[in-house]
């Protein structure tokens, strides 16, 4: 009985990894057997080789580092301003009224469409990249912060008042913690779009010559498809790591929220 259970559990855990391995093996075989030119679809083995080389000579480290720096700069600005405005809107009806109009007008605009304008204003340097990503991430953060405060459980606020809390105490000790799950989910969204916008900005407007986006588009232009794939792999891993870190952070900040097991 135990043997069977053990085997079943092992199989369940191993299955995802196994499926990836089988997929890669099939890919390798397919490319070699059909003699497909590496320009179109390189084999996993040669992608790994190029990836390894880029890591070894510091290329990957450099570009990844630059991209990460930009991501965190943009995200931090968006988070600080978004949360601040969201809190302000929650505490002042006038601010909420005024800001709401602007948010409603600008949120539906695909922020990528602002790129040409920002390039005119800010050139193609760091400023434009960080601004475009901060602007995009700002919206989900401010909206979910405000919404979290608006939707704070009235019952909890009444209970706090009943127990002697004054207005300031209710705001600080009840409303903000109650809004925390919403704020954190807004930050998750914000991080997601920051990553997208930074990589996109690195691809468009090439004065940077650095970052994962640049790596992608440059490798593509010179038809070094192995490097394109290698960059994609690194981006995917980077994204996954950031998401996991954020989820871990969320659990630390808001341990009372029920999370799905991943």
């Amino acid at each position: 009985m135990n043997g069977k259970q053990g085997t079943a559990k092992f199989a369940e855990a191993a299955l995802p990894t196994l499926s990836v391995v089988i997929f890669l093996m099939a890919w390798e075989v397919f490319v070699r057997w059909r003699g497909i030119a590496p320009i179109f679809l390189p084999a996993p083995s040669s992608i790994s080789f190029y990836l390894w080389r880029m890591i070894a000579d510091g290329t990957m480290e450099y570009h990844l580092g630059v991209t990460l720096l930009r991501i965190f700069a943009g995200f931090f600005i968006a988070a600080a301003t978004g949360i601040a405005l969201g809190l302000l809107m929650g505490m002042s009806r006038i601010v909420a009224r005024v800001a709401d109009v602007w948010i409603a007008a600008l949120y539906p605009l695909p922020k990528i469409s602002l790129i040409p304008l920002l390039i005119i204003w800010l050139g193609t340097g760091e400023a434009y990249r960080i601004v475009i990503s901060a602007i995009t991430a700002f919206f989900p953060i401010v909206i979910s912060t405000y919404s979290g405060i608006r939707q704070a459980d009235q019952g909890l606020m009444k209970a706090a008042k009943d127990l002697g809390a004054n207005t300031r105490q209710i705001q600080l000790k009840v409303v903000i913690p109650a809004a925390m799950p919403s704020i954190l989910s807004g930050l998750q969204l914000g991080m997601g779009v920051t990553i997208i916008l930074i990589v996109a900005a690195e691809m468009i407007g090439g004065s940077s010559q650095s970052g994962m986006g640049y790596l992608l588009i440059n490798s593509g232009q010179v038809m070094e498809t192995e490097k394109v794939f290698a960059s994609l792999v690194v981006l995917a891993v980077m994204g996954a790591v950031i998401i996991k870190l954020q989820q871990w952070g969320d659990r630390k900040i808001a341990p009372w929220v029920a999370h799905d097991d991943r």
Partner: protein, 269 residues
């Protein structure tokens, strides 16, 4: 503390859809007595209790809190009463001891002192060892006890309880009722206890105020002269049975009326 409710009326809603939750409700809840508000759903009993607690504003009428020894001195609503809510309203981000000590923290009591007092209360409701747990990790009955401890730590003379045991399973309910009786015997607070369970109202209360369906008025006040300390065995006595009968007949037609109201509401949409 006496709680004197005078002609309290509560009207919800705007121009078109007015709902009269309470209609000139008047009653004097005597000091050190356990009063039960018994009525069907929607009869305004929760609203009344919140008005008494200073957490809702009555449309008209007055509530006065009087210290019987000091004559007719008026006290502000809310300062002398504390609520135990129907859905508990525990702060989910705070652990048990921080929930219980919340009121003291708001008052500015130092941490050591408020934790000390919270520990005493947790001991008395049997939650020793769970101080650092989050409410989400506790069972319904345990959360109920946290809510009770959070209210009792305030040491206010009036205890307002809004169907606190409604969501508990039958056995936990019995345990909590016995606990409440014990606490009442020890502390002699003025208790206003809202329930829709007839048996509970008679078991716990010195008087049962039967309310009508909406708009909520007093249908009848049934004095309960069973001796204290109460015990569950009293449920089987003839006297209890007679009281139950009386309450049941009073409330039965109100429950039917309330159900009809709800059917109307559903049909109207």
């Amino acid at each position: 503390m006496d709680v004197v409710v005078e002609d309290v009326t509560q009207i919800w809603g705007g121009e078109r859809t007015q709902v009269v939750a309470l209609d000139r409700f008047s009653h004097r809840f005597p000091s050190d007595r356990f009063s039960c508000l018994l009525g069907p759903s929607g009869c305004g009993k929760s609203t009344l209790v919140q008005i008494v607690g200073g957490l809702e504003q009555a449309t008209s009428g007055r509530v006065r809190i009087q210290d019987p020894q000091k004559g007719d001195s008026q006290r502000p609503l809310g300062a002398d009463s504390v609520m135990v809510w129907q859905n508990l309203n525990l702060f989910p981000w705070r652990n048990v001891i921080d929930n219980v000590a919340f009121g003291l923290e708001m008052r500015g009591v130092a941490r050591n002192e408020r934790y000390e007092r919270a520990n005493v209360l947790l001991g008395s409701v049997g939650l020793r060892g769970f101080e650092r747990h989050l409410p989400g990790q506790l069972s319904g009955g345990m959360r109920q006890r946290v809510a009770l401890a959070r209210a009792l730590i305030m040491e206010r003379p009036i205890l307002l309880m809004d169907e606190p045991f409604a969501a508990l399973d039958a056995q936990t309910k019995i345990v909590m009722q016995e606990e409440l009786l014990r606490i009442f015997d020890q502390t002699h607070k003025t208790v206003v206890f809202v329930t829709h369970a007839i048996e509970e109202a008679i078991l716990l209360g010195d008087e049962v105020i039967v309310m009508t369906a909406r708009p909520g008025r007093i249908k009848e006040v049934i004095p309960v002269n069973l001796p204290r300390p109460r015990s569950l065995e009293m449920i089987n006595t003839l006297e209890f049975g007679a009281l139950f009968d009386r309450a049941f007949h009073l409330i039965r037609e109100e429950v039917t009326a309330a159900m009809a109201q709800q059917a109307e509401m559903v049909a109207g949409h």
